[in-house]
Symmetry: C2
Subunit: 357 residues, 2 copies
DNA sequence: CTGAAAGCGCTAACAC
DNA sequence: GTGTTAGCGCTTTCAG
């Protein structure tokens, strides 16, 4: 390596231990091409600023040894990592993985890379998991759902780390939100059922602890019931962890509220497991009981009967979130909120209420 | 900052431009605690080597400013990033996201972090996508399925980048493989159908280009047919991209080979879309046609009729792959291959063949 | 158009 | 037990 005489003194000792350099560095390329490391850097990053002949020599040398500039060194020097990380409840779930996929794709298209971190469904304790992402150079953080962790909010504000909440939209929010209005969407769903003639509607929700989606959907349902002077029928599952738990909730509802004609499940997976149990119990869907899901994951249309759901533009939301974060990082333009529309997709799992009973 | 007099000359110029340091560095902590940066590093990384009083001062200072050691600087110095990356066909798919999830969890538990990169189903062109991961400091690479990209193999060998193929197991392989034997599993599945009395079996496969899973399953099916002196009936879908494409394959089979009594779908999603089409065509499953999937994703049990599949221990494979890679990185012990067992899960979508026809 | 050198944040010799 | 300092790989002034 071309070092000054002084530095050569210290060199051999430490370096000689390692057998052979695992990955070529800019120095190796410079040596091979007979130029300085500065020229290598320029030839590779801003080719126009280097004389053709030299440039070609550098490129040839770099190619011959499969040189890839080390992003770690680059990041340290440039003080930019181009890493945008995402936190979501789980990865092994069609909904979350669809969002994650859209985000990752968008990042990739724009030369970014991202860590994906799972956090469970409770958004009130995100900081410790976010920490690892931040330590590793995360320049922007996208969180699935509302951020209920004050520590994380404080940290990001104090250290100017761009933070974005994706999937749920909130009119007023300390942090920009890109997503849809869960409250509104649920109201639309219930109104659709009302229009069909259902007046005895029950809800099965996932745990609402630290989960703004469930909270908003429950609130919408309670509000509607209150407006009608009805007592809301809500059962909770722990479907988040156990695929089969929706069945138990269905049994509780059918026992305590046999007059129920329509059942709103706050996640598609809940609806699927309810369907299985309904089949087992001989409850026909939709003849005896109408059933709805939420999020319209691909499988909703494949089940028999096909499942009525609220279609959420998850991919669009994911892309929008990633794009917004990239724009923020590139131009410094402040992040803005954005509301997406949802649509009730009426499928075979919903029909007019049974007349008997 | 405590620098020697010389260096201070160059300092103020460049630093003064930036308003305020976004994220505190080890120098900030050192200054606040009135110690050297070395002591900060020691107090945080090997607390025992620092006098209690000083240690507490350092920790207090660090906490007060939310100090997090920058992994970029750390990685550059230590020449370790603790990043293990994964490449898989897609993310928005229950199978792949289950594997990704298991890998990510295992990494996290062990203080590692990982990038997840999607590559599509064709494993013959992985290098360019892997490049970005390698550039960003990936120390070990886990690839879903057999690696058919010679460039990637060459690169990893030349630069000693640990490489692991997960999900598919191969007896002989340049690269260690952790997974199951697709050929064997398919043979088991077909034999089960034979035992039940099926002799006219067809297969619907996904594209087999660069996809060892499909290739092995097709080969097993061809071999069995050859042993029986039968002409194999195989249709291809492009389900990889279009959820509804399984239906067209079913129609082709029912038209050209109406004698078929059992249908092997090489992925669960194919089977689901076939089920939908069968319903539409009035073909009853399993009475008229037995149906099998592969991979046993959670949804297989929820469909009506529930789907017979080959259960693959995807999570175990993911965890094993991640653990093996970590062990390789920590101890230097060479990566080994490992074969997992699969099991045919007989569910309602399979019955004895219809006697008429 | 090219090279020398500084320095990003950190750890680990080395010196005391 | 603590401080000083070199240097990981890179980009980018600054000279020439």
């Amino acid at each position: 390596m071309q070092q000054t005489g002084e530095k050569l003194l210290a060199k051999p000792k430490s370096q000689a231990i390692q057998a052979r350099r695992i990955r070529p560095t800019i120095h190796d390329v410079a040596k091979a091409a007979g130029v300085s490391i500065a020229t290598v850097s320029r030839a590779l990053n801003s080719p126009d600023s280097v004389r053709k002949e030299l440039r070609e020599r550098v490129v040839a040398a770099a190619d011959s040894m499969d040189y890839m500039a080390d992003s770690v060194g680059k990041a340290l020097r440039r003080q930019r990592t181009q890493i945008i990380s995402t936190m979501l409840p789980r990865l092994a779930d069609p909904l979350f993985s669809a969002v994650a996929s859209a985000i990752q794709e968008t990042l990739e298209e724009n030369g970014y890379l991202g860590f994906v971190q799972t956090s469970g469904f409770d958004n009130s304790n995100l900081f410790d998991r976010a920490k690892r992402l931040i330590e590793h150079g995360t320049e922007g953080l996208i969180i699935f759902g509302r951020i209920d962790d004050q520590r994380l909010l404080d940290y990001c504000r104090a250290h100017q780390l761009p933070l974005l909440s994706a999937y749920s939209y909130f009119e007023k929010s300390e942090v920009p939100t890109i997503g849809f209005d869960n409250y509104l969407a649920t109201r639309q769903l219930v109104e659709m059922l009302h229009t069909l003639g259902h007046s005895r509607i029950a809800m099965i929700s996932g745990s609402d602890k630290g989960n703004d989606r469930q909270q908003s959907r429950i609130r919408a349902f309670r509000d509607i019931n209150a407006e009608l002077g009805q007592e809301p029928v809500i059962e909770f599952t722990h479907m988040d962890f156990d695929m089969a738990d929706g069945g138990a909730a269905l049994r509780r509802i059918m026992e305590n509220h046999p007059e129920t004609t329509a059942l709103i499940c706050n996640r598609c997976v809940i609806a699927f497991s309810v369907m299985v149990e309904a089949r087992r119990l001989g409850i026909t869907v939709p003849e005896h009981l109408s059933l709805t899901g939420f999020d319209d994951i691909d499988y909703a249309a494949l089940f028999d009967p096909s499942l009525t759901t609220v279609a959420v533009p998850s991919e669009k939301i994911g892309r929008a979130a990633a794009k917004a974060m990239i724009a923020r990082l590139e131009t410094g333009a402040p992040l803005g909120s954005r509301r997406f529309e949802t649509e009730v997709i009426l499928r075979r799992s919903v029909a007019r209420p049974r007349t008997t009973a």
